[in-house]
């Protein structure tokens, strides 16, 4: 299969397509659109300006994936020339795999659009950069405030924390730490979230059920050892989660949709300029962790 990359120039994505069509003997078909990549410079303005055409056209599949790209877009498409696949299909599989590992929040064009129009939640889209070996690499999540990219990002570990806080777990959600100089990896089995909301304060009461995936020290059937590990994990995860919240507040990006809960159950505390109010609130995570499975070893 030979892939040809066509570039176009125009005042809008539709105009760009029209310009690109001048260089090929076929009409570009949007019905097979699988991924939309937006450069970070473009995303710093209202990204809906670039997306409106996709929502308006019934032939456009609004289940396509969406990602923000660091730097120039061109090298990301040149990938098609090296691989037996189109760039769109490649990034669709790539982002799906990130979603399955809970590294990014699963959004499609449509679900992202619903958030762009929502004043009680903000987007956090996959953030991709070009690796030194010429392969695209996931670099976490690009945080939005309103309809624009803030320039702030979460790294991949923080992305996992965001997904856990957001209850948007993929097929496998794993976290690793060094415990007593030995690695421990846990997989999130179940998660629950309750919000304790007052005028300027939100406490996120989070409960996690974990399954141990890696623990070379073994002997988790020992109550003392297991409870000690649980305590360690509670402190570490809670600390990481609070750091994520702090980053979200600094970016004025309510990627967790805490505003939805405030608006629904405490409407008098919900402010029209939610992003501003969110950034000034006292928000903290209170975590409780329970190890419910230890794999096929104890």
């Amino acid at each position: 299969m030979q892939t040809i990359i066509i570039t176009g120039i125009g005042i809008s994505p539709r105009d760009v397509r029209q310009d690109a069509e001048l260089k090929v003997e076929q009409t570009l078909d949007l019905s097979v659109l699988s991924t939309v990549l937006i450069s970070e410079d473009s995303a710093k303005d209202d990204i809906y300006e670039y997306l409106d055409g996709y929502f308006r056209d019934p032939n456009s599949p609004i289940t396509s994936k969406l990602a923000i790209i660091q730097g120039d877009l061109k090298p990301f498409f040149e990938l098609s020339e090296q691989k037996q696949t189109t760039a769109g299909e490649y990034y669709e599989r790539f982002i799906t795999s990130l979603e399955e590992n809970s590294l990014v929040i699963p959004y499609t064009l449509q679900t992202a659009c619903a958030i762009l129009f929502e004043n009680a939640q903000d987007l956090a889209l996959p953030y991709l950069k070009m690796g030194e070996d010429g392969r695209p690499v996931s670099d976490g999540l690009a945080l939005f405030s309103g309809r624009a990219f803030t320039g702030s990002t979460l790294n991949t570990n923080e992305g996992v924390m965001l997904n856990i806080l957001n209850n948007s777990l993929g097929f496998a959600t794993r976290i690793s730490y060094l415990y007593k100089d030995s690695p421990v990896t846990v997989r999130i089995n179940k998660t629950k979230r309750n919000l304790d909301i007052s005028e300027n304060k939100i406490v996120i009461d989070k409960k996690l059920e974990l399954m141990v995936s890696e623990y070379p020290q073994d002997h988790l059937s020992d109550d003392i050892q297991r409870k000690d590990l649980q305590q360690f994990l509670t402190e570490k995860i809670e600390q990481d989660m609070n750091e994520v919240i702090k980053k979200l507040q600094e970016a004025k990006s309510d990627a967790l949709g805490l505003g939805r809960g405030v608006r629904a159950f405490h409407p008098k505390y919900f402010k029209k300029d939610w992003n501003e109010h969110f950034s000034t609130m006292d928000i903290s995570v209170k975590l409780s962790v329970e190890i419910v499975k230890t794999g096929i070893l104890e």
Partner: protein
Amino acid sequence: MSIQLTKLQLFLLMFVMQTGFVYTSFQNIIIEHGNRDATIQFIIISVIFFLQLLFFERTHKYFVLNSFTKTLYLIYWSLYVTVFVIYITYVLTSWIFPNTPTIVLIAIFLSVCFYASISRPETAVNIGVVLIPMLFLFLVFMFLTIPNLHATNLLPFFYDRQDTWWMGFIYATYAFGGAEVFVVLRKYLVSNDKIPKKSLFLYFSLLTSFYLLSISFSLMYFSLEEIKLIPEPILYILHSVEVTFAKRLDIFFVYIWLSWSLVAIVNYALVMRLVYFEKKRRLPRLQQLIFFAIIGITANFLIKFSVLDFLNNYLVYLNIIFTFILPVLIIFVNKIRGRTVSELEKSSS
């Protein structure tokens, strides 16, 4: 012309006529005005509809149409069917057939309606049965969107009301347009006994739940600002559902909805036939052909976004008059005068 209906057939006819073309479109206009109170507003109007059904059941024998009210209803139903055709064609050209001339689309589906209308009345009565499995399929597809719904979008109630909030109540009546056919068709029931309240309640619950599902799903799926941009929320929701067996689920549903709407047109045509051909008239087939031709030609001239927007905003007032107000007036006037359906039938025989 006369027919005999069972209770089930009566409710099936009403269900198709009351959901017909309104089902894909009315959610955004209620939500646009009622915001998060749309579900509550709809439930309040549905209770009024249920009380009206109970009232109709008690007083249906007084619903006698004279030549003036008959003409009024025939004009109203013709207008309603024309709006159906305009809307169906607009949706088909927007979603599936952007390059097909509108007159071709209209000719194809109105010829199907015409054929069903000149067939035996039982055809029009029973044709709605084919929709039942399709509606179940539709519900299954809708439930696929559950992971993307935000239940918090339904709340808070009675909080951010705008000046036009009360209009939500007005537009909620769209869902119950066509309720007047209950009193029109009531006299054709096989056994003219009372319809139990339980049956009326079952029908009301089914219709209300079916509509409530569409309003609450639209509210939970879209943000308030987004839904104002989306004229067909249900189609759009299905457009965004990804399944392995079809690239575009919305096309599948558009065909279901098209057949649903065509059956609704056939059912409206049946009600008009029953009213118009109550007296024996010459050349009934030719008259029906002329009727469908006029509808088709008129609709073809009016398929414009601005016309649809106007109709969407103002048709509801005609709905309220002909569905809620006029039948009640007719019943009161005839009750005062002591005119009943059975007396009219005796005098005409």
